[in-house]
Symmetry: C2
Subunit: 568 residues, 2 copies
Amino acid sequence: MSKVLRVDMSGLRVEIEEAPEEYRLLGGRVLSSHIVAREVPPTCDPLSAQNRLVFAPGLLGGTAATTSGRTSVGGKSPLTGGIKESNVGGLLGHKLAKLGINAIVIQGQPPDRRWRLLRVDAEGACLEPADELAGLGNYDTVQRLLAGGPPDRLLGGRSPCVVSIGPAGEMRMAAASIAVSDPEGRPTRHAARGGLGALMGAKGLKAIVVDDADARNVEAAARDQYRQRVLDFSRTVLDDPRTKNMSAYGTAGVIRFVNRENVASMPTRNHRLGVFAEGDAISGQRIAELAPQRSGKMLPCMPGCIIKCAILFNDEKGQHVTSALEFETVALMGSNLEIGDIDGLARLDRLCDDIGLDTIEMGNAIGVALEASVAPFGDWRRVADLLEEVRRGTPLGFTLGGGTELTARAFGIDRVPAVKGQGLPAWEPRTLKAMGITYATSPQGADHTAGLVTARNVTPDTLLKASRHEQILMAAVDSVGLCQFSNPTEADMARFVSAQYGVSWGPEDVLEMGRRVLKEERDFNLRAGFGRDAGYLPDFLRTEPLHTPDGEMAFDLPDELLDGLWDF
Amino acid sequence: MSKVLRVDMSGLRVEIEEAPEEYRLLGGRVLSSHIVAREVPPTCDPLSAQNRLVFAPGLLGGTAATTSGRTSVGGKSPLTGGIKESNVGGLLGHKLAKLGINAIVIQGQPPDRRWRLLRVDAEGACLEPADELAGLGNYDTVQRLLAGGPPDRLLGGRSPCVVSIGPAGEMRMAAASIAVSDPEGRPTRHAARGGLGALMGAKGLKAIVVDDADARNVEAAARDQYRQRVLDFSRTVLDDPRTKNMSAYGTAGVIRFVNRENVASMPTRNHRLGVFAEGDAISGQRIAELAPQRSGKMLPCMPGCIIKCAILFNDEKGQHVTSALEFETVALMGSNLEIGDIDGLARLDRLCDDIGLDTIEMGNAIGVALEASVAPFGDWRRVADLLEEVRRGTPLGFTLGGGTELTARAFGIDRVPAVKGQGLPAWEPRTLKAMGITYATSPQGADHTAGLVTARNVTPDTLLKASRHEQILMAAVDSVGLCQFSNPTEADMARFVSAQYGVSWGPEDVLEMGRRVLKEERDFNLRAGFGRDAGYLPDFLRTEPLHTPDGEMAFDLPDELLDGLWDF
């Protein structure tokens, strides 16, 4: 049975509804965005009782397809004011799918100021008091909630999954993330973007524990066919040279490429430069060099992932510092703050994971604060102090925790590295101009995962078409619940969906699903009061060119071109 | 000769340009908004070198028509991100007009981090170093700049006019105002709304001194006719019962009306209630009762004003506390913070004038902060402490000085009393529903002076038409430079313009000017990325009704109705 787990925080009630028939072929982003668009008034305040927080596993969740356990977390974003789908790995998606849950919908607001915990298992679901968890970081929260379980279940992803917020989410800061535990029982996977941690905080929900111990496996309509698809796809993934690089160096393996002078896509000193002199010191290759002497390794974020791109980073004594040290973190908290100390960066990553903060948003917000002379560039310990201010909820901490735009406005800074209120990822729109199209037009705001296109030296029209296609494709990938790093084609996805659900989808059906997502999300934003996309790009991308061997490069595509993205 | 005084802060150059022919019949808001729309890229950051700050006297500036010396201050708003016209009285408008200056346009950004002073007189204009004024409040700034002049010129508006920013503007806070000195040489008149003080601060301009000592009078094309218009209009104004109330009690005279249970338009406890139990204690009538024993009095804000609505408020010893203690200040800093101590309120008003802050924005921002338990409601001394934090630029001060929306976002508050980023004035959209239409649709954001309509018990369509007409009319009033409190009709304005400029305008020409203003402003905002008007109204106006004898009242006009405002 497919079901929706509806949690009403106003009445402190949990209800399990049979999922409407139309949800049968909806999952992940197409489902989370559909529920938000249908159930949330677009003009409501994101922190009000009217907003809803949705967790939806992808269409292939719970199956053996590699990387198919990703989860879409949705709601009206406290950061952008628009619709948000924040995609996360970790143990959650497979477990929800195995429990037959299409979506968890958290709604209302608690009648008191107390914290709750939601427990979900094969028996059902219930809310429990959780005031004793208040103020805890994600690491302590997960440890407490997983303590006492059978030790063998803490291995290989068989332990329950903990979904939690840290102090930032409790304080409803717009840069707050939602943490999802990984196979080693650590809160290192985050639905980070868009401040959904603040939304979970506004619902009075500190954590969710999902235990699929007695759940049944997800069965495909055409079992043998599906099994064959799984094998074929795994082979394709393993043969892909991109996979090899990811498996060896993680996402940080891209640094040597983006930090080249002619790519200049390594945000440096609050996006003033595109090349960081100390880039090599924080590259995936450098991290890989350190790994043997420190017992560092590469981890999968969910069972069954054959890519294993998550860097587990230990200190010089071999003690765990952080897992899932990502390129975006290294770029925004590193080069963007002129920090070239990889050990310092690993500590900043752990702090963000523990406090429950989006590292991209914080890297941008702190970059702006450093520009306002709050602290010097290049000193990771001072940045750690700033993050501790966020944890304590000092006035400065509230400002930084409010994200890039809020920090810039508070300090009167005129260079605001954000689009639709969301801080810029590392991929640079001045040199990789399609990224400017994606950032401006995506209903998500500045989001590299919405449609990453690195094409250069092609016509503006080609860039536009590439951004449009990639946005549609990624919306589909996020709906079936595969990881973007498995690089599925629309044909791959069509074959999987067809075998799993006993339908005959072709590639065009997959793309149509992606188009539906984008249109439904955009319609929500328009009803929420969003205007013309081109108006949201920060001006400095147009007026402050980056120096490259190919000349001065600024984002120079006309507004009219961007308008054309929606002509589909 | 008509001229534009162009001040390029990048090159530290001042140029006097002959005004284009099309400016001859443009003044005040129609001119300031036209210059902004023509010269400022709509997507630029408001604090960047590309933004421009415009001062434009009205079409009737410098003439004998009562209240005709108002000034429009324009730019892209650091608070709303949209176009801004902030209208101000005081000595400025008449003096600029007498000097033959259609507009001052401040552009660029200084090459260093130093402060400048702009001096303008009949000889020309020049920039001077002004670092010695840095950090001073507006009171000290004005005193220093007017010191040493002939004492008799400090009376009756013959002294130079000082336009200045306080520490809030220097720190580029989005709630910062621009102060204009009054006939008694005090910085009590403010172009307060929209954070234009931050824009002046971003230009590195601490103050402007305008001296019209050797300027010639402004002559009408049809002198005798104009003189007759002046007399007729003055008689009309004096005969108007609204004038009598204004002259006796100032704008605060309205409190007894708006605080009635069935009007419920006195914002109380962060807009949770519409009636304040201590309303009488802070009413204009109460202030008038105190006046005789304290040498309180009513002042004009400019020479030639026969209304004299500005309350000069002294303490119990007869020492000056503040001038121009307005209804909006008393409501937003008073009832909205549950402060019923008029002496305390007068001190808060002076603090805002001195630091250079919009009292409406600060009343809303602090209301939100009190909701976040930063301090208790009802204690004016604690509020004074918060304003001193703004003056000192502490992290909390930066948050509050960033305005309502920024404060709400920093503290995770879901009731944000702002429209298009600008804090709500006192006039309540739940009971006076046309105000919801005006706030939502005005290109200025929540602004009662954009179109104040108090009609009740009429059809939604009538409310819409009333808001539209009033917005058009007020745009015209702000363009001719008359005070809204003189209540000119379109026919009055047409007669004045015709006699002054030797043209034959009818009422329709005046309204056409108003329509032009609104359309040009809206077009700017659309190009800046603004979306559907209805999306900007804070949700609590729809979801939290006010209790009135006529039942529960919420703002309940449909989005589609609001869309229709632009059908003209």
